[in-house]
């Protein structure tokens, strides 16, 4: 498998600082701030029209919403999500929530209670030190939109999605819902009917953005739905690193996140999309992510799946242009009643395309981890190669791990490899390490770090540091001290 690009610690993003090293891991307590407008009730035509009206949208967008709604009403609920028996949309009563906050470029303009949330999440610090741009979505609307002069001078567009709809209608129409159509599944349709918030990024030809941009999503209350839509268009020869962060406070009931990311990577461009998913344990997280890569383009997905109650996400790339490539690395933790149904999809639709998918999951205390992946090599995609590796570490008898890899190989001249393994915590290993003087929790933690080490080595250094901290916080005391 020499054809794959192997990267060292520094090869990724050329030493770029992501600003995620010190993210807040502690659970955020309940928060409260004022709401200006709330659209509640069952999903219906009038509700969708109301959202469109509030947003003063052009007709084409309103029609898109209504078509998506029609599809949603007809489509069946996916039957293949075994552990999520029911996603009760009637429980989600607030489908559009506009906080009582004027959108601003300055942290000090935000109401104190909102600013405090962001300070706790260290967002102002990250923005000041590492990021070229930051959009912060609170409930259904972007409230902080910071774009540094550096980004403007490069001609990069980074604005809230709804503003882009009005300001760059032709550009948006060319891509919006083209990468991930609403006809894909019921929740994609629901997303298009109700979408609000999110960010639009356009990187002009041959522009290489040397600092990452970030979008941060925060759901403030229970029984709320967040349906943000982000669209990244990287023009020919451009490069950008996009960070997506998610958080929510401790909630009494569930909230529903059904966001979407569409990426269009033009010829020879490079898009890296890094997700740090740290939803609180009440969030049902349905995340739709898809990219199209044109000739020679590269799309890299990296996800640290830390929080949420249920997560269903399958970062996907369609390798449409010759010589395009993609990697997808997902690291997930499922503890307690948490279910992570994740996986990656790659469609090789052109010759000499390559993909590498890596999934590492750690399950404990009755957690469930599911890998559900698809690799399809279309007829004519000669000389293509794909390698999928998924591994789970199960820490106790109560926890489960399942693997459903699907490979459709329609071209003979292609190489596809798949490796899957599930390992249980080995008491002989624990004993060995303890016999040297490590406490049980230290021994288990050492084994967990060892399990994930080979993947972390290939990722940006800061991501590795962040994940290490997450593992320490999650499993530092696992299995008791004795």
């Amino acid at each position: 498998m020499k054809r794959f690009r192997e990267r060292g610690t520094t090869g990724w993003c050329e030493d770029m600082s992501l600003g995620i090293e010190n993210i807040t891991l502690e659970e955020i307590p309940e928060v409260s701030y004022k709401h200006r407008l709330e659209i509640t009730g069952r999903v219906s035509r009038s509700l969708v029209e109301e959202i469109s009206r509030v947003k003063k949208e052009p007709e084409w967008m309103r029609n898109l919403r209504l078509r998506a709604l029609e599809f949603f009403e007809k489509a069946r609920t996916p039957q293949w999500i075994p552990f999520i028996e029911k996603i009760d949309l009637d429980e989600i009563t607030s489908l559009y929530v506009k906080p009582d906050v004027e959108k601003t470029e300055k942290w000090e303009d935000l109401p104190e209670e909102v600013r405090k949330i962001y300070e706790k999440l260290k967002l102002p610090e990250s923005y000041a030190r590492y990021l070229a741009g930051l959009t912060s979505v609170l409930d259904s609307e972007s409230v902080f939109v910071g774009v540094k002069e550096y980004l403007r001078s490069l001609g990069v567009v980074m604005i809230p999605m709804e503003e882009a709809v009005v300001k760059y209608p032709n550009l948006v129409r060319e891509y919006f819902s083209r990468v991930f159509p609403y006809t894909d599944h019921k929740f994609a349709a629901l997303h298009y009917a109700l979408w609000s918030g999110g960010v639009f990024v356009y990187v002009p030809k041959n522009v290489r953005v040397a600092y990452p941009v970030e979008a941060f999503f925060f759901v403030g209350r229970e029984m709320e739905g967040q349906f943000e839509h982000s669209l990244i268009v990287a023009d020919e020869g451009s490069e950008i690193v996009f960070i997506e962060g998610c958080s929510a406070p401790r909630l009494r009931k569930e909230s529903f996140h059904d966001g979407m990311v569409e990426i269009y990577a033009h010829k020879a461009s490079k898009v890296s999309f890094v997700t740090v998913q740290n939803w609180s344990r009440n969030i049902v997280n349905f995340n739709n992510k898809r990219a199209i890569a044109e000739e020679g383009a590269t799309v890299d997905w990296v996800e640290g799946s830390i929080g949420s109650k249920f997560t269903v996400t399958y970062p996907s790339t369609i390798l449409r242009g010759e010589g395009s490539s993609t990697t997808s690395t997902v690291m997930s933790i499922s503890r307690g009643g948490v279910v992570k149904d994740t996986g990656s999809k790659v469609i090789h639709a052109a010759p000499r395309t390559t993909s590498r998918v890596t999934s590492k999951s750690i399950v404990a205390d009755g957690g469930v981890s599911i890998y559900r992946g698809l690799v399809q090599v279309n007829k004519g995609s000669k000389g293509s190669a794909s390698y999928v590796e998924c591994e789970s570490l199960i820490l106790d008898e109560k926890s489960q791990s399942h693997t459903y890899p699907i490979v459709h190989l329609l071209e003979d001249d292609a190489s596809v490899g798949h490796e899957a393994s599930t390992v249980k915590l080995d008491e002989d290993q624990v004993f060995y390490l303890m016999s040297r003087g490590l406490r049980r929790n230290e021994a288990v933690s050492t084994i967990i770090h060892g399990f994930i080490r080979d993947v972390l080595k290939k990722l940006p250094f800061e991501f590795a540091v962040m994940m290490s901290r997450v593992l320490d916080a999650e499993f530092g005391e696992y299995g008791g001290v004795g």
Binding site: D428, F431, Y432, L433, S435, E442
Partner: protein, 238 residues
């Protein structure tokens, strides 16, 4: 002093060691021999505290303290060390990091540790590249023994249970091992040495030899017992 007092060991409800007593004083080398499957490793695991090897009867004392119920790390901190016959592989955890972590757990950290590890590895003939590879992953039999020896040297235990430390080692390795055992015994450590091979015993002089058969001590003696076994095997004892 290590005292094993009337100890019985159960694994999955099966008794594998029955009422074994032995005593290793400071500076003493006691040899434990016995045919395959006689319970030698089970006894070693039970002394160190493997949760699957339950001491169901008797006591284990370290310097007079009853440590029978202590977890392995507490025993390690009291100076007990198990030299594993077949040390387990641990992916992604390397020897250098492990030793550093152990030193750190004991309150010692800093660059000095790394230097010490490198120098000692060189002395025991362990290639530098093995220090940063997954623990025992792809190590040859001899390399595994050298890795155990390296840890035994660095952790300076007061009491060592050495489970076939010589198997798989070349002549040079056996000599290094013998030097280490003599030196540690000379410094007052107590050593319980499990071995099949009289070769090692050409270099170190045990004060006592015990023969374990089917979990029971069947014979006790000195070097003459070793000579008898190498002539006649365990037949006379089984």
């Amino acid at each position: 002093m290590l005292e094993v007092d009337n100890v019985s060991v159960e694994v999955n409800g099966v008794t594998v060691v029955r009422r074994v007593s032995l005593r290793v004083r400071r500076g003493e080398i006691v040899v434990l021999m016995g045919p395959n499957g006689s319970g030698k490793t089970s006894l070693a695991y039970a002394i160190m505290g493997h949760p699957s090897y339950r001491v169901v009867e008797g006591r284990i004392l370290l310097e007079g303290e009853d440590v029978t119920k202590l977890p392995p790390h507490e025993k390690a901190r009291r100076g007990l060390f198990l030299f594993f016959q077949n040390p387990v592989e641990v992916r992604g955890v390397n020897l250098l990091d492990l030793i550093k972590a152990v030193f750190e757990a004991g309150g010692v950290s800093g660059a000095g540790v790394e230097k010490l590890v490198l120098e000692t590895a060189d002395k025991v003939g362990l290639k530098k590249t093995l220090l940063t590879r997954g623990l025992n992953e792809g190590f040859s039999g001899g390399e595994k023994k050298r890795s155990e020896l390296l840890q035994a040297i660095l952790l300076k235990p007061r009491c060592l249970i050495m489970d076939e430390p010589d198997s798989g080692l070349d002549v040079e390795g056996v000599r290094l091992l013998a030097d280490f055992i003599r030196e540690r015994a000379g410094e007052g450590a107590c050593i319980l040495l499990i071995t099949h091979y009289p070769n090692l015993l050409n270099y170190v002089t045990p004060s006592k030899v015990l023969v374990l058969v089917k979990g029971v001590v069947k014979a006790e003696g000195g070097m003459e017992l070793v000579e008898k076994i190498s002539r006649e095997g365990y037949n006379g004892l089984v």
